[in-house]
């Protein structure tokens, strides 16, 4: 699903973010990327959904080699990738339902499918009773659930989450992680970046540890 070979990312002013990263995440894996702030977790996630380009090295995601990536391929790739952020990135003027519908409308989804898909996604994250609530009327956990519903509404093959529980308390964090796990059990590849080592330790079998842009784990994936 995701392969990286000796990938380097250097930001302007010669600031290295990732150094010699290689990894292989298989279809259906549940992977937690951990490391302290500035370790390169966000950069790694950004490279996977093409928000950043690697300075050096090869990246292959869903069979697409990023060295031959054009705008049309990026669009196709993103349609098959759900992304969730720490700050939710919701449209605060729109309701929970409208936020999810927005992602469908932006892709030109058939009108007859929009209602059904949005309803299913919101039901999956347990928000079917808060459809008309606007994000700021909801708790942090509920807002993150809207973001997850939006990320999942187009049935992507993989879900990327950058510090998805960073703004949530411990109990809600566990709920959200359980939700990610259940999504993974439905066949979606899930990659979560978190600085929370305790949280990461709950999923030791697929674990990538970064330190100052380098992998320091045993390399299980």
């Amino acid at each position: 699903m995701i392969q990286m070979f000796n990938v380097y990312k250097v930001y302007p002013h010669n600031h290295p973010a990732l150094t010699d990263i290689s990894l292989h995440i298989k279809k259906g894996d549940f992977v937690v990327v951990t490391g302290s702030s500035g370790a390169g977790k966000t950069t790694l996630i950004k490279l996977i959904f093409c928000a950043e380009r690697a300075t050096q090295g090869q990246i292959i995601v869903q069979g697409v080699n990023f060295s031959k990536l054009d705008h049309a391929r990026i669009t196709t790739l993103r349609r098959n990738t759900g992304v969730v952020f720490q700050d939710f990135r919701l449209l605060t003027q729109r309701t929970a339902y409208e936020n999810v519908v927005f992602a469908l409308e932006a892709l030109g989804t058939r009108r007859t499918e929009i209602k059904r898909k949005a309803w299913q996604a919101l039901k999956l994250v347990g928000l079917q009773k808060r459809l008309d609530a606007k994000p700021l009327e909801l708790s942090g956990g509920e807002q993150q659930r809207i973001a997850i519903a939006r990320a999942l509404v187009n049935n992507p093959a993989m879900l990327l989450a950058d510090e998805p529980t960073g703004n949530l308390d411990a109990d809600i964090t566990q709920d959200i992680m359980a939700l990610f796990k259940s999504i993974n059990e439905r066949g979606t590849t899930v990659v979560i970046a978190t600085h929370n080592k305790n949280l990461a330790s709950q999923y030791p079998h697929h674990h990538i540890i970064l330190e100052r842009g380098r992998r320091v784990d045993t390399g299980a994936c």
Binding site: I74, R89, G108
Partner: protein, 302 residues
């Protein structure tokens, strides 16, 4: 399939209206700018069209006077008269002899005709007054006809009040030049303002655009609502300009008709013809969409 297309068009329109209502003030400025620019342009067009009409109308009332050489004899005169009469643009030819010319001059001088009493020789030339057919009574044709008749033997000169007509023609040219110069500046300013308006809209909707990019929306889908915004701005602006122009025209007409009734008839001022009205609306739309393309181009590069 068709319902999906309608739904997409509805979606673009809805998003565009949503964007416009959220940035009412900036859009109002853009629409106002288009209205002002097109109104100025419309006033200029209306002025030039009506000046041209007046110019052509005066041209129609004008007849040519071909002054004849004093050495012309009756046979040559008949031949020349026949030659001019058979020209395709000639309606009527009247001969005015030297004596008739002097009599006419005396009549026109009225009480001061005494100054002509001591003339030993009649200095006035005989002439042929040539009425032209209506189709040829315009400034372009006049020049060509005068040039042709001047070449005829025994014709000393041809007059049609060209100096006055040329001055008026130069005045129209100057109005056109001033109009085009002002129009160019207004055009640039309008595109600049529209482009900035769309930029502000893009900035205010950056969250939505980011999400659209994130979920894999195509550039067309991201841009389309902004193009619709530009199009609506242009359409509303041009309709506003034309409405104001028509209102101004009607008010001007009712005032001049009330005070200067003699302006009715051939010199009645006309409004813009339908083709120009449609062109102005299209021009407004092009301005709106053009400004949008400018800022979208920069935005997509970013």
């Amino acid at each position: 399939m068709l319902s999906d297309i309608f739904y997409r068009v509805f979606y673009f329109l809805r998003e565009a209206l949503h964007g416009m209502s959220r940035n009412r003030f900036t859009h109002l400025v853009a629409v106002g700018t288009i209205t002002f620019a097109l109104l100025t342009f419309g006033i200029f067009l209306l002025t030039v069209i009506n000046l041209n009409r007046i110019f052509d109308e005066w041209g129609r009332r004008i007849h040519l006077i071909a002054y004849l050489d004093d050495s012309i004899n009756q046979q040559e005169l008949n031949a020349l008269r026949e030659r001019i009469t058979t020209l395709p643009y000639t309606h009527l030819v009247t001969f005015v002899s030297k004596e008739q010319a002097l009599t006419l001059l005396k009549e026109s001088l009225q009480g001061q005709s005494g100054i002509l009493e001591n003339l030993e020789v009649n200095p006035l030339p005989a002439s042929l007054e040539i009425q032209l057919k209506d189709a040829y009574k315009n400034s372009q044709s006049l020049k060509a006809i005068v040039a042709k008749i001047k070449q005829f033997d025994k014709v000393r000169d041809v007059e049609y009040g060209q100096e006055w007509l040329e001055k008026f023609s130069a005045f129209i040219s100057m109005v056109k030049l001033v109009g085009i110069t002002i129009g160019c500046f207004l055009l640039l300013a309008t595109i600049f303002i529209i482009s900035n308006t769309i930029k502000l809209t893009i900035y205010s909707r950056r969250d939505e655009i980011e999400i659209m990019k994130l979920v894999g929306a195509t550039n067309f889908f991201i841009q389309a609502p902004f193009f619709v915004e530009g199009l609506l701005q242009g359409l509303i602006g041009s309709l506003g300009a034309l409405g104001t122009l028509y209102l101004g025209y009607r008010m001007f007409m009712s005032t001049t008709t009330a005070h200067y009734g003699f302006y009715r008839g051939p010199l009645t001022l006309v409004f813009l013809p339908q083709t120009l009205v449609v062109s102005l609306i299209l021009f407004g739309v092009v301005l709106g969409v053009g400004g949008c393309i400018l800022s979208m181009g920069r935005f997509l590069k970013a």
